[in-house]
Amino acid sequence: MKLQRARGAVRGIAAFALVVVAGGWWTHGFKAFTTDGAALAMAGPLPRQAPSLDLELASGGASSLQHYQGRWVLLTFMYLHCPDVCHLVTAKLQQASEQIEDLTPARLIFLSLSLDPQRDDTGTLDHHWHALGAHPGWIMAGVADQNPAELDRKLAQLGVWVDRFPDGRINHAASSFLINPAGQVTTVFRAEVTADSLVKALRHLIQP
């Protein structure tokens, strides 16, 4: 009877160890429970160098993420056919951009990149930018890299995940990435951050 109980206890401890190890591995040490969190954990600790991204500006012409080195960049990703989250993030950015006009565009740029080059051409993005008030410190662009695998690799370096679905949905990270003048990602703002909190944090980081 005692032996049977001991065996039961050992099996229980082994099962518990297995559950803890598997759970710890899957959540990156019980830190990353969402797809967003896992992508950020896999990208590595902050600060980290932002990848090079070629851009097609909504206002016309080509540019790159590196072009904005020397200024702070608040980088977000979106696509205009997004059913919900992108528009909530855009609305928040619009509020924030109006509250921080004294720093944009000289010291800070809001950069919203579309992940849907097929549907969000430069004309459509430009129309959207004007609808939002055509703020000079807020740049809208598409990524010029047409190879999705290569683009996803670069985005993964940043901590951004992307899932493209046959029905046209493009699920992706909704976080905002603050890149310092040296081109390093220094802070990641989760999608749920409010405009007021975002502005407060940006002022604190840019004007310490």
Binding site: A14, G23, T27, V85, N171
Partner: protein, 182 residues
């Protein structure tokens, strides 16, 4: 034996095309219909297993099976795991199998354990359902990225309404069972 076969076949029907695609298409269908159905069918399957085998399984492997079943359930409550299941057919099938097996395991093991264990696990499950319901309704972003905010809010609202009812059922059952034993 037949009492185990029928729920197993039903579970297979729910987990395989064309039913699986319909359930996975929206968050409410998946989390409010398919997952509870797999749990109920898993428990029904265990109920049909020969009663002579139950004590043997429960006494020798009880604690280990209880922990593994709880671990499986916890794993598929992680948002990242649900995303994986929604985007990958194999992971989706593993998830269905996990819910089914976890429920069958709990149905086999819990009746052989002290009532307190069942009540503690049940209360924890109700509390988690309430917590998930709150997160789904209050959180401004997507928890499970494979679905949309409208579906997330609806699923959360239903969970918030279902959790107190489940808690009431659980405690009514627990008090009656404690009374019948005492």
């Amino acid at each position: 034996m037949i009492r185990s076969v029928i729920p197993t076949l039903l579970a297979l029907a729910l987990a395989l095309p064309p039913m699986a695609g319909w359930f996975s298409a929206t968050m409410p269908r998946h989390q409010l219909i398919q997952v509870p159905a797999m749990i109920i069918l898993g428990a029904c399957t265990a109920g049909g297993i020969s009663r002579t085998r139950k004590p043997l399984i429960a006494s020798q492997w009880g604690p280990a099976l209880l922990i593994l079943a709880s671990g499986m359930i916890l794993f598929w409550m992680i948002p990242r795991s649900i995303d994986l299941a929604a985007n990958n057919w194999i992971a989706d099938q593993v998830m269905h199998l996990s819910w089914f097996l976890a429920a069958a395991t709990l149905a086999l093991v819990l009746p052989r354990m002290h009532l307190m264990v069942s009540m503690a696990l049940g209360t924890q499950a109700v509390a988690m359902m309430l917590a998930i319901g709150l997160v789904y309704t209050r959180y401004p972003g997507l928890i499970c990225t494979a679905y949309n905010l409208q579906q997330q809010h609806y699923t959360g609202r239903v969970m918030l309404r279902a959790a107190p009812l489940l808690g009431l059922l659980l405690w009514t059952w627990g008090i009656r069972r404690a009374g019948s034993k005492g």
